[in-house]
Subunit: 169 residues, 2 copies
DNA sequence: GAAAAAATGTTACTTTATAACAATGCATTT
DNA sequence: AAATGCATTGTTATAAAGTAACATTTTTTC
């Protein structure tokens, strides 16, 4: 995976994926990471939880809870909201999924660490969401807040704009 | 109003208000700013819109739309959701109010410019929300995004943590 | 296998927000 | 002032997002 380096010399994973990238790999990586992480923690990645995670990773767009619901339901056996929300709760608790507040929607975590404050780049054109684990932003933000005497515990950083692909075309 | 200065030498309005500050001034300032801005733009700050703005400025906490609804309604004449949401829409369009996505709630704008990307400091203890117009964050964020080839058009930056007052006590 | 714990199913409901159309208010022209 | 046009508010209904409480099933532990 390509890397860029910012002015602080910090490594930054390239955020956006090409249109025709081998997405199976993204999914595969996410699922095996989930498997490993859950095994290691003694948490149970049940069928339902795994299905939800797979559905979320179906694309790089943020997914609405009720869309998941629809996709999980077949005419005979409708799945109910609590089922999906519980799966999401589990996946979020384990850092496998993030909620994007400004969209009321969910994306798979592509970050490295289990617990992290991520920032999101959200393309207004194509809808793709990309996670940045730029510690630099986190620090800049925390430093600025500190000037106001504020201690940051959790941050929501969601940037809406244009991704490189959509800018190009 | 007290000022702090960050490492870039940039001015930063002191974010949090004391517990017993003269809040009438905050309200007064907000309302006259609204008056002036609307007059200047030929926009109509109607009674309903003004009432909503006043209610929002009742405190420095973020207010839920349905709380506004309750406070606007008296037993006889209930106010309906669209009324409140329309007032909020107007106030947001003119930069007099911001929506705090991570809270599904609204706060009065205490910023200077009409159109700006603000950051919010949200105290998890007392609920007070403070607006920072730290251009430094905006720039840091945009710069980092640029490394990923992303163009930022709108940013949601909401920091949850402890305000100075609550930290002190 | 029985008991306990965890996960899922089910019902009902709360909270947040919007669509569509009717009525009213306000401003300008005649 | 009456007529016209547009902006605002009222009203009804419904969509969208999320949760509480309890029943049932599955999995683990003893
Ligand atoms: Zn992919
Ligand atoms: Zn992540
Ligand atoms: Zn005040
Ligand atoms: Zn503002």
């Amino acid at each position: 995976m390509a890397k860029a380096e910012n002015s602080d010399g910090e490594k930054l994973v390239k955020a956006f994926h090409g249109a025709h990238h081998a997405h199976g790999r993204c999914v595969g990586r996410a699922l095996s990471r989930a498997d490993a992480l859950c095994r290691q923690r003694g948490a149970r990645l049940t069928t339902m939880r795994r299905r939800v995670l797979e559905l979320i990773w179906d694309s790089h767009k943020a997914v609405k809870a009720y869309d998941l619901l629809d996709r999980l339901s077949d005419g005979e056996k409708p799945v109910r909201p609590p089922t999906v929300y519980r799966a999401l709760e589990f996946l979020m608790a384990h850092g496998l999924v993030h909620r994007v507040d400004s969209l009321n929607a969910f994306v798979g975590c592509s970050g490295a660490d289990a617990d992290h404050n991520a920032q999101f780049l959200i393309c207004q054109q194509c809808g793709d969401v990309s996670e940045m684990d730029g510690a630099a932003i986190g620090k800049a933000v925390a430093r600025q807040a500190q000037l106001a005497g504020f201690t940051v515990r959790r941050q929501t950083v969601e940037l809406h704009g244009e991704c490189p692909r959509c800018t190009a075309s």
